[in-house]
Amino acid sequence: MLNLKGITKTFDSGTEALSATTFTLSDGEFVSLVGPSGCGKSTLLRIVAGLSQPSAGEIATSSEMEDLRIGFVFQEPTLMPWSTVFENVALPLQLVNGSPNTDDVDRITTVLQWVGLEEFQNAYPRELSGGMRMRASIARSLVLQPDLLLLDEPFAALDEFTRAQLNEDLLHLWEEQKWTAIFVTHSIREAAFLSNRVLVMSPRPGRVIADIAVPFKYPRQPSLRNDHAYTDFCASVSQRLATSLPGANQ
């Protein structure tokens, strides 16, 4: 569905964030991007979303996907603090379609049910826990039925337990709905649990240095995390990442 060719990004300050990043994304894939801090993962995501222009290279979408609908989940929940959960989730519909109609209300209610927030639809963000805010943020990204969901380290600020729970819930939603996902994370364990492919990026200027298929079948159970094969796989990705770091080439 998506073909990235030689994406390069140099900021005005002269910092080179990305150098000739190339990869392909097929329909319904769940791909994770892992890499050291500052390797341009977030920059790459912003370029795919059209929020930032690449200095060189191009992004091609398959012909039937001319008008790719994109959802974005930020590092922080990024909710409007002056609006209720319902109004926050309704925002994309209102920005794209104008005023909400009854279909929209149904759609919003459905999406809120997916993330388990239907009882909190009238709450304000400050009344919710960090995990619930992130759920609201995910609900908002799904409300327009995106073809492609971009997630920029969405669970980094959450505690371990909440994070594991949200990983499982996100995977459930994806298994049911099969949007395509690019998931940026620092956590190799998270990447291995969620995705069917892990792309390893080099330190800045970032580019994809390894494209590793994850050998575990869907649907994945939480018990996978205790599996030896899973732990071994995480270790091998971790090693691949470590060899890319400066001072690791002996």
């Binding site: 979303a49 002056w82 304000y124 400050r126 327009l144």
Partner: protein, 262 residues
């Protein structure tokens, strides 16, 4: 218990202070044309009350009109300035001039150019009140979350959608902070303008009455005017504070009951 203590403590302090004042005036036998006792002032408030309140109504009219005008123009100017960096660079220095120029120095010109006393007072009070609104609203409009900006961009929000749904709500707490300052400044502006413009007769406001009474060495009445103006200023602040808390109570830190439980 807590609320009543919050009310009683300042009142108690005021009572002690006034008693001390009363006692000192009595003990040293200070004549009322130099320093009237609180009792004299109270008496003047009671006797002249109706006429002073009528004068206060005139002052208040100008003050409120100036506040409304300052809100409308201040927000309008801030929204205009935020549209382009160039425009802001070009025009903001003039907004600063508006703030730093003492209105007493502009008053004589306005008095020559404008016939209506009400309009003269309005212009001067507006000049005193508008800057905090421009400056705070501008800051607020620029302080919307970067990621929310990106979100609006992602869904191709129009300029007016971004303004209505993102920039204005984000600016609201800042605007209200500016408004609280402006409320006091509008009253100060009106009072100064009244004194400079030398309004008299039917249309004279409370500040003119204060000046008039002090010329006649009727200090009790002058201080009664002063007391009414102070209470009015406090009242304006209290009302604006209430409005601000009301509008922000659902979401903004400043309006939450107990910050530690946010």
């Amino acid at each position: 218990m807590k609320t009543s203590a919050r009310l009683i403590l300042p009142l108690l302090f005021g009572f002690v202070l006034l008693s001390l004042w009363e006692a000192l005036v009595g003990f040293y036998e200070i004549p009322p044309y130099i320093l009237p006792s609180p009792r004299d002032i109270g008496e003047s408030l009671w006797v002249d009350g109706p006429s002073l309140l009528a004068a206060l109504a005139i002052t208040l009219q100008v003050t409120v009109a100036a506040m409304i005008l300052a809100c409308v123009t201040g927000v309008g100017i801030a929204v205009l300035l935020v549209q382009s960096k160039l425009l802001e660079r070009m025009l903001f220095p003039y907004a600063v001039f508006l703030q730093v120029t003492p209105i007493v120095t502009i008053a004589p010109f306005i008095i020559i150019w404008v016939d209506s006393v009400f309009v003269v007072l309005l212009i001067l009070a507006w000049m005193a009140a508008v800057f905090p609104i421009i400056s705070n609203t501008l800051l607020g409009l620029k302080s919307a979350d970067r990621n929310l900006h990106d979100l609006f961009k992602l869904y191709s929000a129009s300029r007016s959608q971004t303004l209505r749904r993102l920039l204005i709500p984000a600016a609201l707490p800042y605007f209200l902070g500016g408004l609280r300052i402006s409320g006091g400044l509008a009253l100060i502006g009106t009072v100064v303008a009244e004194m400079v413009a030398g309004t008299s007769g039917e249309s004279s406001g409370l500040a003119s009455r204060l000046l008039e009474a002090s010329y006649r060495l009727e200090l009790a009445r002058a201080l009664a005017c002063f007391v009414l103006l102070s209470i009015t200023g406090y009242g304006i602040y209290a009302v604006l504070n209430w409005v601000s808390n009301r509008l922000l109570r659902h979401w903004h830190e400043s309006a939450l009951d107990d910050p530690s439980h946010a």
